[in-house]
Structures are given as structure tokens and as C-alpha cells.
Subunit: 418 residues, 2 copies
Amino acid sequence: MIPEIKAILKQITVQNSSTPAEKAKDYRFTKRMKSTPRSFIREILKVTQSPDVISFAGGLPNPALIDTAGIAKAARAVLARDGSKALQYATTEGDPSLREFISERYKKRLGLDIPADEILITNGSQQCLDLIGKVFIDPKDDIAIERPGYLGAIQAFSLYEPRFHAIPLGDNGPDPSVLERTVKRHRIRLMYGIPNSQNPSGITYSAQRREETAQILAGTSAIFVEDDAYGELTFSGRTLPSMRSSLPDQTILTGSFSKILAPGMRLGWISAPPPVMEKIIVAKQATDLHSNYLSQRIASQYLSENNIDAHITNIRNAYHAQCTCMLDRIRAEFPDGVRYTKPAGGMFIWITLPAGCCSMEVFESALKEHIAVLPGIPFYVDGGGTDTLRLNFSNSDEMKIRAGIQKLGSVIAALSGA
Amino acid sequence: MIPEIKAILKQITVQNSSTPAEKAKDYRFTKRMKSTPRSFIREILKVTQSPDVISFAGGLPNPALIDTAGIAKAARAVLARDGSKALQYATTEGDPSLREFISERYKKRLGLDIPADEILITNGSQQCLDLIGKVFIDPKDDIAIERPGYLGAIQAFSLYEPRFHAIPLGDNGPDPSVLERTVKRHRIRLMYGIPNSQNPSGITYSAQRREETAQILAGTSAIFVEDDAYGELTFSGRTLPSMRSSLPDQTILTGSFSKILAPGMRLGWISAPPPVMEKIIVAKQATDLHSNYLSQRIASQYLSENNIDAHITNIRNAYHAQCTCMLDRIRAEFPDGVRYTKPAGGMFIWITLPAGCCSMEVFESALKEHIAVLPGIPFYVDGGGTDTLRLNFSNSDEMKIRAGIQKLGSVIAALSGA
């Protein structure tokens, strides 16, 4: 048995409160740190990196789909040709050619006209959330988030001490009646959502639900923060309209190279209307001056000399196969009463356990079998979700998926008395 | 004449207030953004990158002292041997071998016992300030900073809405009587300082003043945030004790690879006692998950296969020569009544103009002569400093220093009526 399991299990029990504070009694920390949960996911990742664990817990891309050789070639070219500039300080906004690439891709993929100077390069798209918190969230401001909602966003925004309002996510997107009521009752500053292949649920908003959501928000004080980390990973290759098409002045778009290029380069971006971008730039300057310039230059070089569409198609096809395999095995191995989403893209399947079956018990029993899953609890800002699990399919090959889902099926069956 | 000058001059006039807000009237931003100045330095950098400007305004290392070939070799090795890991997600704390290097260097250079697990890798040392703000500064908390103080720290901390208390910096360090009075009157949460070759002043705290400062803070609620970005750049190679030696539980140390390796890799670090480090990790997770892992691996590889001491000695010698040249030319070219610091290391000389001579006028006139200098005003949290300038010597060769200081001498002479 893995020695860290006990430590992890102990941490889970406090993960929604402050971190263990006993030793910290001599220091006085900020109020905001009390309300910010430690990332359960990142704690779990530490254990699940052990080679004898099959992990469906993380959100890692398949390492076989990172073009290491291509990136190495691009790095050589940048450092040979322009190394001393690529290693120097650079502008806060980011590399112009990389921003230009993103601008052109928005045009091509989504028909959006977003000039390069409305795009700023961040340290992964997680940093977008921190910058948005800085610019938009005063303590006690009301903000809306999907239920279940992305844990990284809950963490990032928690530092700015908002009041969260959870909008239940159905098969077609956020519940319009709850959203409408929330917007009427509260001065919502922003709604955070992932319309394409949401994390954690795998749900994609329908075209109609996008339109309804936009109509409810139009003209209100709310910004829609559209996290599009998974938009390129739609299995069909088809993409529904961005919220920005319906809410041009009220949408902030965030994106990521982590899923299509490589997460270790920490490259994401934020796109916002000019008056908002001005504030984002000031916040970014104050936060870390600028993003890693060497990585920006390598990415830009890579994109200029490789067929990124072909590369993305490979990723889509691989994840589609892995997702299909996982769904097939779930259907075959999980007991009756388990519900699950059928993602159109992305990296995750969302499981609802049979009545009376608790995800923490599943987590614990599965980890003893060297299978890591992610209990859904931390994705709920208002409690609940104790019967839910998130399963990642992008980081496991079909052999691992078969073996892992079989064992997980037995665990769930045993715990649900099936 | 450079076309951007007018825009820059316009921006300076608002730099201590909010950014231009007229266009932003439809958006409601946070209170904290109102009190955060846009970085004058970064605006100036945009102009001064023009090749026909001699810039003493920035804080860039000499590009000739970035070992591009060595870093390229390290990048090749990392990507060839372990590319798919170096490009994957990694831990929040950072690369273990890089943290081990820092730990060993603290031991060797400063006699400090700081284990690797009390070190976290950040996106440049600027990010340390953001994380410290998150963990230690609630709105209206009292914090102390040198006068003049580092602009990047003023910006980073401003986002957390503290009350700044300025501690005047004399030739030997912060004024002990003002510090003592401030600590008695206010519950100071932290004091931020740069004991070695301070930015902007170039002043190094004497050993005695370090001890006095530590004695005043010992046992109070204050943390000393010791920014040691320039500690490796002491011309003599000798280093005075870290504040951590006298205040082990009350010191947070920050460091940077930007000055000894390359700024474009955005690698800094923060070292704090374990209870504080726990909070820093949570804040870092929420902010951007982890720092650029590819750069961390490249840096670690570079440090393992190169003689960093020899490289740092080269940098020290070069900057010492550049500093000496600038001081000589200042002595020869500037009119009487100009005062200036004589740095023991680092990158900056601090100028106090003759009575009645205004740094903004010097800035404006000098820019017309294609010489960029940095007015000292933004380094003062409580106003003042209108007769001060910061001059950077690290990013100009001796020819540029001679030509630039001569022209600057004429500008100051003309404006001061000498």
C-alpha cells in the first residue's frame, strides 16, 4: 500500500476549511487565506505520480501527444538565432507573434475578430483567473459559477473573497431559471463558465443554451468569463459559437496552450475588451511583470513551422478513442444506478453514484486498489456532490482504462451493495 | 524625435493615480485597481528599446552577460533526455533539484541552513511580492517600505490595499529611529527591504544597521521581507549577513535568477518558515498552479554543468567597471550640487539634483536628446522625490555611458542654471 495515502486521506477531511493551522499560531495570515481551499487535486497528483497507480484523478494530457521533438527543434532555432533577446526581459502583454497567432486562430476557428492587442499572454490559463479576481472581485461581491464548478476557479476567486452563487449545470448547460433568478436578486459581477467540455462534468452547452445564457446576462452588470481550455478538443472538430459572439462587450475569453502544446511551458492567454485589458495589464505588471518569454518564443516558433491543425486532430482522435473506451467499460463494469455524462470533447467524464454510495468511500477503497479517482465534493461551492466523481480519460491508455474501470466497478458495486 | 515620447509624457502625469478611466466607464473595477499605479518603468521600456536611445532607465542585465550558448546546450540536454516530463504539469513547489541548488547556495554564500522544502520557485521574484501580499496583507494593514522603495513592490503590495509607511533610507540603511517609532505606533505586518544594493538607491545596509533593524523588529508582529535580488552582484564578492541570521522566524527571503542567469526564463524563489510556506503554496496553487517547468529544468541542468561562480564573477567585474565608469563621468560631467550614491554592487546609481531642478524636466529634456532616465517620484509612497533620478549602469557599455552621461550633464546644467 502507498505510504502517502494516509496523509492524503487526512488532508481531504480538511480540504474545504483552512489548511492545518496549529503550527501557524505565531503568524497572522490574511482573511482571504482562510477561505481559500488547498487544491485536493494537486495533493492527489503527488500520490498518483507513482507508477503503480492508475490515475483517473488528474487532468494531465497524454504525454505521448506532446511533440517533444518538434518543441526541441523550435527551442534550438530560437536560442541559436535570437537567444539573447529570448532570454531578456520582455513586455507585459507578451510576444507579438504569439498574440497574432491567437488572434488569427479566433478568426479561423470561431469567426471572432479579436485583434492581437486585446490578447495578453499569461502563465497558463489559471493565471487568467487570478488577474480577473484582481480586476473584478472586491470582498463580498456576488459572482456566479457552474455547479459543479472548476476547482481552479473556485480557488483563484476565493482569494478575492466573493460570495459564490452556484448555477446548476444540466445536460445542455447552466439552468436558465436559476441564473435569471440569481441575476435579478444579486448584483452579479461575473459568471464563470466553461461552455465546451466543462471541467469537471464534461458537459458542453448547447447552442440554444448559450443564447439563453447570453440573453439573461445582456445589459446586466455581469461579465461572462468564458474559459475555453477545451474548445480545441471537441471530438467532432466542430465548435459551437463563443459567448463573445452574443455578448461582445461582456465576455472575457481565456485560453490555454497546455492542452494542445505542452502544460510545462505554462502558456495561456486572456482576451478582453480594451478598457478591461488596460486594467489586466496593470494587474499583470504588478503580479509578475510578464510571462516566461523563452517559452513564448519557443511556442511561437513551433507554431510557425508545424501543422498545428494536424497535431490537434491527432489529440482529438486519441482522446475520442480513450473516452469511448472508458464509456464502454463504464457501461459494462459499473453497477446499475450509476449515471455518467457522455462528453463531446475534453478530458473528463462525470459520475453520479447510486443512492447511498459515497464518493469519499469510493476514493478510499479505490486508492487501496491503486486506482485514483477524484471525489466531486470540492467542485461544489455550496456543499453537496458527495455522490459524484470526476474521471479523467486523457492521461490513460486503453489498457489502463480497462483495468482501472474494472476494479473501480468492483469497488462501487461492493460499496453500493450491488 | 521618437513618436512615442508624447504618449509616455502623458502617461507619467497620471502614473500615480489610476490609469485613464474615461473609456472604462461601462465597467466596474475593484477598489484595489484604483490604488495600483501602472508601472512607469515598463512604459518607458517600450520607448527605450529603440536602438537610437541610450537608456539608463530600465533595470536590464547586460545581454552580453547572458550565457546563451550554455543555456541552449542545457535546453537541448533536457529536451532530448526528459522532454516529455519537462513539458508536463509539475508540482507547485518547483523542481526539487533547482530548490536543492538554492538551498546549498544559501549555505555556502550566507551560512544559512534553509532546507529545499522551505523554498518555492516563482515566476521571477516579482511574483514573490504578489504571494506575500496574498498571505500577509489585508486591506488597511500597516506595512513599512524603504524611502525610496522598490516600485515593483509598491505596485504588488498596492493590490492588497495596505497603508504604506516609508522608512527613510540613509547611506547605511533604514533610519532606525523612524522605524522604531513606526513599529511602536502601528501594528506593522511586514517591512519590505533590499539590504544589498537596493533598488532604486544602490545603497547597501551596513552590518550594524542590519543588526539594529533586526533588534527593532524582533518580537513584533512584523515579518522582514528581504529581497535579495542583487546579493550575488556585490562588486567585492563579499556579502554581509542576511537578516534571516538575526530574525530566523521573522524573515522571508526572496531571490532571483534574472540577474545571474536570464530574466526571460522568469525564475525567482521565495523562502519562508514552514508555517508560512504552507500558506504560500496554497496561494501559488490558486494563482497559477506552478512556475514554468521547462525553464526550471533548463536552469537546473545549466547550473549542474557550468561554473556559476565564474559566471557571476564575470558579471560582477563587468558591472563594477560599468559602475566605476558612470561614477567617473558623473563626477566629471554633472554640475556642482548633484549628489549621487556610490553602490557596492547591483545595477543602479541614485541621483539627487541641485536645488530647484526637477527630475521630470530632466527626464523630458533628456529624452529629446535620446537619453532615457528614470525620475524617482514613483519610488515614494508618500510623495516627494521630485529632485531624484535612478540611473542604471548594467545595460550600457562604457561608450554609451560616456556619451549618455555627457549629454545628461548638459541637460542638468541647463535646467539648474549652472
